[in-house]
Symmetry: C2
Subunit: 742 residues, 2 copies
Amino acid sequence: MASSSSSLALSQALLSSPSSGHRPSRRLSLPLFSGLKSSPISSSPASFSRRACFPAAPLTRALPSVRAAAVETLETTDTVLVDKSVNTIRFLAIDAVEKANSGHPGLPMGCAPMGHVLYDEVMRYNPKNPYWFNRDRFVLSAGHGCMLQYALMHLAGYDSVKEEDLKSFRQWGSKTPGHPENFETPGVEVTTGPLGQGIANAIGLALAEKHLAARFNKPDAEIIDHYTYVILGDGCQMEGIANEACSLAGHWGLGKLIAFYDDNHISIDGDTEIAFTESVDTRFEGLGWHVIWVKNGNNGYDEIRAAIKEAKAVKDKPTLIRVTTTIGFGSPNKANSYSVHGSALGAKEVDATRKNLGWPYEPFHVPEDVKKHWTRHTPEGASLEAEWNAKFAEYEKKYKDEAAELKSIINGALPSGWEKALPAYTPEIPADATRNLSQQCLNALAKVLPGLLGGSADLASSNMTLLKMFGNFQKATPEERNVRFGVREHGMGAICNGIALHSPGLIPYCATFFVFTDYMRAAIRISALSEAGVIYVMTHDSIGLGEDGPTHQPIEHLASFRAMPNVLMLRPADGNETAGAYKVAVVNRKRPSILALSRQKLPNLPGTSIEGVEKGGYTISDNSTGNKPDVILIGTGSELEIAAKAAEELRKEGKAVRVVSFVSWELFDEQSTEYKESVLPAAVTARVSIEAGSTFGWEKIVGSKGKAIGIDRFGASAPAGKIYKEFGITAEAVIAAAKQMF
Amino acid sequence: MASSSSSLALSQALLSSPSSGHRPSRRLSLPLFSGLKSSPISSSPASFSRRACFPAAPLTRALPSVRAAAVETLETTDTVLVDKSVNTIRFLAIDAVEKANSGHPGLPMGCAPMGHVLYDEVMRYNPKNPYWFNRDRFVLSAGHGCMLQYALMHLAGYDSVKEEDLKSFRQWGSKTPGHPENFETPGVEVTTGPLGQGIANAIGLALAEKHLAARFNKPDAEIIDHYTYVILGDGCQMEGIANEACSLAGHWGLGKLIAFYDDNHISIDGDTEIAFTESVDTRFEGLGWHVIWVKNGNNGYDEIRAAIKEAKAVKDKPTLIRVTTTIGFGSPNKANSYSVHGSALGAKEVDATRKNLGWPYEPFHVPEDVKKHWTRHTPEGASLEAEWNAKFAEYEKKYKDEAAELKSIINGALPSGWEKALPAYTPEIPADATRNLSQQCLNALAKVLPGLLGGSADLASSNMTLLKMFGNFQKATPEERNVRFGVREHGMGAICNGIALHSPGLIPYCATFFVFTDYMRAAIRISALSEAGVIYVMTHDSIGLGEDGPTHQPIEHLASFRAMPNVLMLRPADGNETAGAYKVAVVNRKRPSILALSRQKLPNLPGTSIEGVEKGGYTISDNSTGNKPDVILIGTGSELEIAAKAAEELRKEGKAVRVVSFVSWELFDEQSTEYKESVLPAAVTARVSIEAGSTFGWEKIVGSKGKAIGIDRFGASAPAGKIYKEFGITAEAVIAAAKQMF
């Protein structure tokens, strides 16, 4: 790799020049846009059934307006090795699934050719440092086909996928779980499996690249410059989240996003004809994408190469390369059927497939020439990174401030003292909605956190999420930080996961009404699972939103997220608690935070603090002594005020009353036993909680002798105050409940 | 309406003939497909600002391939009255929002013309019987604009929306809540507000019509024959659920679905240019819809009429009529801006709008000629229903069995003894997965329940949901009952809501993996809120699914639905409990049931029963006396077996152990105090629960001295048995926990 002098040149030279002594020489002729027919198939064994090998191209879905990919001509010697490499990938997948007796061989067998071209010929990465910043990103949105990616990573030399890892596919503690998991397998960018998430993640990755490139690249130093590749299948295409995200990708003109659509016409229920007959090509043209059709994805390597070259030439639009493949390609009796999708082939069919594809090797064997062919990626990857490091060193000399800022985004270090930017509040400051206080925090943080960016699902003026010092992230202004997601909650969440997982220092936030977390719950769960520290700014967090009524009023949502692993569910009560919630959210880069915020005004209460929030639950006022109050009143968010009012009344009657803010159950759970006892002493069973949401789960806090005041029905359309009264979310109710305990 | 002789003729005659003496006579000339330009605007006041009245048509989104709607010519006298009616609708909306000081005036002001044409000229309904079976269905998918529908229903004579109801818009206890709610307002078909749900509901309504028509219509008796109309906005269009459902509508060829897309170029964040620049027309053509563009939706009545006529002529595709409108039409200073979307205009702007549109009347006033014009809908509606009743009587004579079956679908009466069809199980019957037992129940029920239909989101062979006696519901075979939803969980749920709310006797079920309820949670919540008794068949309900790993393993899902109001969350343990869960699900027509079912085999346990399931929690075995067991072991679903095993061991050691199956918390909660005490006596605090899911909420059942065994982390990819062991979901753990309590 010594001949190449810059990573920019590298990225553009990959298709057109031999880049290494290890690579067989080849003569390239690239009649792009030539409209030639598919090249003759090079190596299909005689015994291969025509049905399995050449499924009728689904012509009903091809549109005249979509140009088939142009064809390149390669020397045969090269193609023979490529064929062998592709079959290696196929059999690694077949063998691993067979050994586990569990998994999905069909996709890897069909997608091995595009996988090979991507990992062997196109993508820039360093297998020995999967975290090298300027690597191309790859996302397998059709995550069930993960053996494709594991096989490719194995060949490419990633330490996370050695032979023993392939052999322990889907086993306890292995690095090769049943779907790609970024937190298990270095080199896997995001966690996929739930369909449609991956393509949206990829759009987040591509957004991050475009944003950072616009902010940090200089005319003489294109320091950020990578592509994002994704493979998605019919299942992803059917999911609404994919359409949401792809509509945004088109809107944003993410030209460096290249998506391969594995068009194999088979899903679990059989032929896609039974449920999926739309024209994907037309839809994507409507979404503003460039669309290319590779008719022969089974071994039309040149078609695939040409399509990628064409996609790279289109700089103002993302590209969808529809690659028609045969699921389970090579299996004489199961190819092109759903039976090869999600089960091991079985010993007999594995044998038949070995015969059919002329594969004489033992399970898990990588032929020497294939192994040798791929070895170059280790030195090449090291060179790529070294060159980039050198380039960055140059950049750092010329652009010191930018380099420092970019470094913090690359390594995730927060600027020292950043938390001092958070506003502080006193009870004298007029009441305000926590959504407004949230906006103050966001805008204060935007000044000190270079990686903060985000936006709302078309509710910026309700969620109060605009960063005033920045403009809108748009196709022509990608350096800006206000992202306009449109009414696409699910896509928004998954895009933010992609942003968060692009670079440790990127801190994406996104917003909608709290009740509409229902639209994006699958993405939030992936945030939690994949350790993506997205900040979810969720306003209008209870019946307190009033007239919009029960469709808009969350009830069960707090409980539902408290039950979800690795999520911080925060419900601040006022200014200090909102600032505390942001402090917690920013610090927790490996788990998402959900901030439930009010539409209605709330007073700044005496006793609230950032430090209190960090402990999850804490006493805001207490007139008892010896850790023995007569009653403990517990509130969260907008109801903490009610608990405080009730306490005042009870104290007037001579009672010793403690008021506890329970802003985050998860954080409280993590405190020491001593601390917990100091807030909620076991001996004090007289406890009343109040929260304008489901009481589900509150028994844990109030105990069987306590009382949880909440709402276990749907809301209603009326002014907020009226609903609070009618539903009994009042100080009177707290007082009455407390009095029954004395 | 005496002159018309059949409802079929009626449906087709509405546009082309004067149908009532109350209607001003008019001469119609219908040069369909003529390509004429918009007719001259009839009554725009001189002071009307050009910007508000004629927003530049967003030409970038118009495609040459989409034909603009053809234009009809009407006599001016007619148009003047129509204008007046349209302005009445606008001002009823303006006035109601103003009085409530809350709501969304913008959409009603822009959509009043299409609303008028629909309710006054096109739709067949009986305002005095909103439940008349063969009525046209209307869905306001852009539910925030509900004052449009309330105003139309008020004019049309629905008793649910009288003047006082308009005046109590968005107030406690009113019939005019902040978004359309079918359970509050007779005449509202479904509950909308959360964007995208309504269009998917409408697709469910249209599916139901197509299905029932195919099953019950005869060559000489078209007894089922109605259209489904829907208005959706930019927000709905952006939501993924809408794309999912619309892809299915195109696939199914729902020719009697006519959707109006209120193309006003404004959403809450401002001009849709900031986030929504795709070509909706092209996308819908890709989805297989017929697309028409009405350029002037503000007063191009003839264009709207012609578009509907054209849409009706296209019988094999659903139609999207893109109607370009001005949000807040008529407001001189706020039209065409987001400020008119979701807030009252304010007194000053209301005055200015009255002047601008030449509206001299008091708030809530309906001019006499407008009122008189609309009065005909009461007798006409009565006639429509009477004619249909007569037709049905004829049908009943000729087709007795079909008529009886259809009647049961119309009135929701279950056939007597239907529950006897449910299979019964004994412990001798080999172990089986509850997903397989579920299939036995579904197939048994399909024989006795004429309204049962449904399917899976591309997992039929995993969810085990195929009805063997039926074929696939498809464009050409709509009489069949296996619905193939593709990988579109969210759309599936919302479509099922539409099916359920079409007719009380339709019992839709739908299926996916339990974890993917996350994709469809917003639709499930609407099932619960709108009292749609959908049956959710959710298989692969725990870590018991094994190798697919944490992306596919539900953890928090049971808790999250137990917290949701009006949902029955059922987790049966074996054959009898699965049958019991189906009994409960079928009986509960006004709340959805979610069945969590295992992938893995489970033994048929002694002591389980349908009757037990109906009580939610019950004792399956007990060797104690006097309601004083030493310990109570509580399990659900696949872990009930574990509890039973632990009990056996403990009993061997001389302990008095009760085993309780806790299949549905909600049903148990509804039992008498005595019954609850008989199962979980307050005095027995030694309680151990075991469930392969979050322990969140279990404190309520086991109490503070009890122990909840569960999983409060994400799952793992490995064989199921291994995960159970590693996570401590074992009989040994139950025994150890119990022993700590003795």
